[in-house]
């Protein structure tokens, strides 16, 4: 079978999976960052409310 057909499938799969991975990682990074903020504010509520 022609190499170009595999190339077409390969580009489509890698681009889609790559974008999904990018989205998933970005989302997880934001979740971690915001969870840390919530955890910090819960562990020292006075510091936050006094600011």
């Amino acid at each position: 079978m022609n190499f170009l057909i595999y190339l077409g499938y390969g580009i489509a799969i890698f681009a889609t999976v790559g974008y999904c991975l990018y989205l998933g990682l970005k989302r997880n990074k934001l979740v971690k960052e915001l969870s840390r903020i919530v955890k910090d504010s819960e562990s020292s509520p006075n510091e936050f409310t006094n600011r």
Partner: protein, 269 residues
């Protein structure tokens, strides 16, 4: 007159309660995993099925040979870009412009959908170019369908650039919605280009005007699974991109609040 952040009453939006409530809501949205996981699993399974069936199970075409296998990828990604992604972006932009239905949710969904649309449209152009090389003997030709599709890609890249321009949330969303509607004008032109002009690109080759399949069942089923795969992948992308928008908004709000609080502390100090 100089405005100081410590002037005037303290806004509720800057209170700890409001700030944490916003973050918690964003985290709760991101925590709803079931549908996202299910969608992702179905998208991956159908993409695998399309690849295996398209490359190894379906027969060669009598006239097109093996190049017909690219048709299990090219029309599904074009469908996801032109009709699903840009269709939803247009619909959400209209809904935002109508005062009765106006909601930041629609602006976020419009942006999320356009971003995935650009990915699928790029894949449409790439797979179409490979197909063109195999069947027409050229990677690119200034054919009406191809040229208008490339213009569409540029228009939606412009739309994503417009989304980056700063402003208040409302003014940005209005600007985004108008830009989306301008870009959307090209979608029906791309669709009808093969009918309106004499182009190299073939006309509708899957279904007849009476909605009858023009291709053998094995090809029709493989293509159908390809369409499902692109649809589920698009839904997953829009969903996750929307979650990211909500999380980013909560983070920006947190950064702004911290900045305001630091300025207050400086004044007090």
């Amino acid at each position: 007159m100089t405005f100081h952040v410590t002037d005037g009453p303290v806004s509720n939006e800057n209170s700890d309660f409001y700030r944490l409530d916003k973050i918690n809501k964003a985290l709760a949205l991101a925590g709803r995993k079931m549908w996202r996981t299910l969608l992702g699993a179905v998208a991956v399974a159908s993409a695998l099925a399309t690849t295996v069936l398209g490359l190894y199970v379906t027969p060669k075409d009598e006239h097109l040979g093996n190049s017909v296998r690219l048709l299990y990828v090219h029309p599904p990604v074009a469908w996801a870009a032109l009709y699903l992604a840009f269709g939803l972006t247009t619909l959400c932009s209209i809904l935002y412009l109508i005062p009765k239905t106006r909601s930041p949710f629609f602006d976020k969904i419009a942006g999320a959908s356009a971003e995935s649309g650009i990915l699928f449209l790029s894949l449409t152009l790439i797979t179409g170019s490979i197909w063109g090389h195999m069947t027409w003997g050229v990677w690119w030709t200034w054919d009406a369908r191809l040229t208008l599709t490339a213009v569409l890609l540029v228009l939606y890249l412009g739309y994503l650039s417009v989304r980056k321009i700063s402003g208040t949330d409302h003014s940005k969303a209005i600007r985004n919605s108008i830009a989306a509607l301008i870009a959307a004008i090209d979608v029906p032109i791309v669709h009808f280009s093969v009918i309106w002009w004499n182009t190299l690109h073939q006309t509708a080759s899957i279904l007849t005007p009476n909605l009858q399949f023009k291709v053998p069942p094995s090809m029709g089923i493989t293509m159908g699974i390809g369409f499902l795969s692109a649809t589920f992948a698009w839904v997953w992308m829009v969903r996750v991109r929307y979650e990211i928008s909500v999380l980013e908004e909560a983070r920006e709000s947190e950064s702004l609040t911290t900045l305001i609080q630091n300025r207050r502390m400086e004044r007090v100090g």
